[in-house]
Amino acid sequence: MQPMSAEPTTFACRQCGNCCRWPGEVRVSPEEIRAAAGRLGLTEEAFIARHTQVTRDRQGLTLVEDAGGACRFLTPENRCAIQSAKPRQCREFPHQWRAPEHEHLCAGLREPHSGKEPA
């Protein structure tokens, strides 16, 4: 595996929203469902019905994507609509997990951080 250009310690998010547009499962635990439902003012059942589907391995739930694979909670301003309650999988990228192909899509991983946080 090629080393990443940017180490997680030097990573700073450019808020491009690309990571929210990749197709793929975002697994959500019951606690995360409860939190996100609370954030949106929904019951857990309503959140499950509206925003989740069964994972491919049939062992859990994942967030429903838009037709192009983008997250439904990504706002037009590239913000997360459930920021305070966003699932752990989203929170932990790219510090806890990432794959080499993400480098091409994530500017923060491609270019080492200058040391200054973006505005």
Binding site: P30, E44, E45, V54, R58, G60, L61, V64, A67
Partner: protein
């Protein structure tokens, strides 16, 4: 050198023999030989039984009659120079005496020889026997005519059914079509395509035989045969005589049966191909009746039992029935315009790309409903659909699928009830894949592959049932198993600690685990102390649940 008839007795079919040059030399001075020579001088042709004789430069020996038809007799002979067996067709007797027949025989030989194609019998040699009879030699096919195979299939012969299933029969038919397409491209029509004229070799070779009725028609490819043109006797007067019926009644096109010979053309061959496919698939010729006249009367008006009704037991796919009926349309203009188009439909069918029925579903419309019996699946062409289930706990989305994906195939494969609802999320176009089409495809693949698909289907269906307990109503069994793993017998632990640990292990909400523990307490499997400590009360029942999955409640 004096020539000698092959047999001194009146020959019966199958009794003709060929005398080798040495044997002929020994007998050359016989009285009978001189008599036959006299007959030949008087008539200019060989007598009936002066079949295949020896003579100067004659290279064929040891003849055995294989078949006798209107145009000539076919022998199995030995090519003495190349030391191989060949089929030799000779115009003998009445055929040889009639100039029109002789001309037709020569035309047959030349047409067949010109059509060099893997599925047209190759002609090796052409000329006159030392007796002056016209002959030509061709490849000796070590096989049997398709009629015999079809008869065995009709009789239910299991070995034949395995070797010549409908897929194999379509492959054979495809090769026959290929031979006819080639002939048409060279300006030749066959006019007598039928299973009897299709030889199937022991190694899968397919040869279209008997071009005795073949005729050249006008066309761009006419020049291809220019080499033969001019030297070949014209077809007149026999074949062009209006009202003279040529062909085999059981397969005849209306234009042939009505004697409208000037209308016999490439479209006639397409009809005959359809009639051949009819017999291939239904195991019956298209027309049958008590007398030949009745058969011709039926053929004249294309009085046909639709293939699917002719033999429902064979379960002929709808697409094949459609192909047969289009090829056999009474109106020539309604038939396939050419053989390549017919071949294209067969190809599409063999490749499983049968143009299917398409259906549009409006947004919100239900494609299928959970619990219904499924007899078709859908290939999504455009739009998106949602697969979902409604459980006691509420609505559960199993997935959203879009173009290129298939829904409902499991129920169609297993003929079981639908396991989910499928709803169009937006206007969706889908191709209907019928259970019959799936079954037809399954019959094409090898038996073990069919088993493999069946086994995968069952496993997938089972896997679909094994969803996370969160998604379904009852998780008590999973909780019981966790209790047994976590809580040692005779020990107790705090309710909160136990519930939290099980909830973490199973990724279940705390409340649901707590409620399951409550039920186990109510069932007196677990015991709850006044200080909220939990211990096992009925070890054996807990074990039954955990190990044997016996539901306690």
């Amino acid at each position: 050198m004096e020539q000698l008839p092959s047999s001194q007795h009146s020959p019966k079919p199958g009794s003709a023999t060929l005398v080798t040059p040495s044997a002929a030399a020994a007998a050359s001075s016989s009285r009978l030989g001189r008599i036959y020579s006299g007959i030949r001088r008087l008539t200019g042709i060989a007598p009936d039984n002066a079949a295949i004789t020896s003579g100067d430069g004659w290279r064929y020996g040891a003849a055995r009659e294989i078949n006798r038809g209107g145009m000539g007799t076919i022998y199995r002979v030995r090519d003495l120079s190349l030391e191989r067996d060949l089929a030799l067709k000779a115009a003998l007797g009445a055929v040889a005496r009639d100039p029109a027949h002789a001309a037709a025989f020569i035309r047959e030989a030349r047409i067949t020889a010109r059509l060099e194609h893997p599925n047209i019998v190759p002609v090796h040699d052409f000329g006159q026997t030392p007796d002056g009879a016209w002959y030509y030699t061709m490849k000796l096919v070590d096989g049997e005519p398709m009629t015999r195979i079809l008869s065995r299939l009709l009789a239910g012969n299991i070995e034949t059914a395995q070797k010549f299933d409908s897929y194999q029969r379509l492959l054979i038919f495809h090769k026959v079509c290929s031979a006819i397409a080639f002939a048409h491209a060279h300006g030749v029509i066959h006019r007598d395509i039928k299973p009897e004229n299709i030889m199937v070799g022991a190694f899968g070779e397919v040869l279209l035989m008997d071009w005795g009725l073949a005729k050249r028609v006008d066309g761009n490819a006419e020049a291809e045969l220019a080499m033969v043109e001019g030297r070949e006797p014209p077809e007149a007067p026999l074949a062009t005589y209006a009202g003279f019926i040529k062909g085999t009644p059981s397969y005849m096109s209306p234009e042939q049966a009505q004697g409208r010979n000037s209308e016999v053309d490439r479209q006639t061959d397409i009809f005959l191909l359809g009639a051949t496919l009819y017999h291939f698939m239904t195991l019956h010729p298209p027309y049958s009746a008590n007398t030949a006249v009745e058969v011709v009367e039926k053929a004249a008006v294309a009085d046909l039992t639709p293939p699917a009704q002719c033999n429902p037991h064979e379960q002929i796919p709808d697409e094949i029935c459609r192909i047969i009926l289009r090829a056999m349309a009474p109106d020539k203009a309604a038939r396939y315009p050419d053989v390549p188009e017919l071949i294209a439909d067969i190809d599409q069918f063999l490749a499983g790309r049968t143009p299917g029925v398409r259906r549009i579903f409006r947004a919100g419309e239900l494609l299928m409903h959970e619990g219904e019996l499924g007899d078709e699946g859908y290939l999504i062409l455009s739009g998106r659909v949602e697969v979902s289930r409604t459980t006691p706990e509420g609505f559960l989305r199993l997935g959203i699928v879009g173009p290129g994906e298939i829904v409902g195939e499991m129920a169609a494969l297993t003929a079981e009830a639908r396991s989910a609802d499928v709803t169009a999320l937006e206007d969706t176009e889908a191709e209907v894949i019928s259970a019959a089409a799936i079954q037809a495809e399954m019959r094409k693949i090898s038996p073990w592959m069919g088993k493999l698909v069946g086994s995968l289907t069952v496993r997938l269906r089972q896997a679909n049932e094994k969803m996370h307990p969160l998604l379904f109503s009852d998780c008590i069994m999973q909780v019981a198993r966790q209790v047994r793993l976590i809580l040692p017998s005779g020990m107790s632990t705090e309710l909160d600690v136990l519930v939290a640990e099980i909830a973490r292990s199973l990724a279940l909400p705390y409340d649901r685990v707590a409620s399951a523990i409550d039920r186990l307490v109510d069932a007196q499997i677990l015991q709850r102390q006044p200080d909220n400590a939990i211990s096992i009360r009925d070890q054996s029942r807990l074990l039954m649940m955990a190990r044997w999955k016996v539901h306690p409640l």
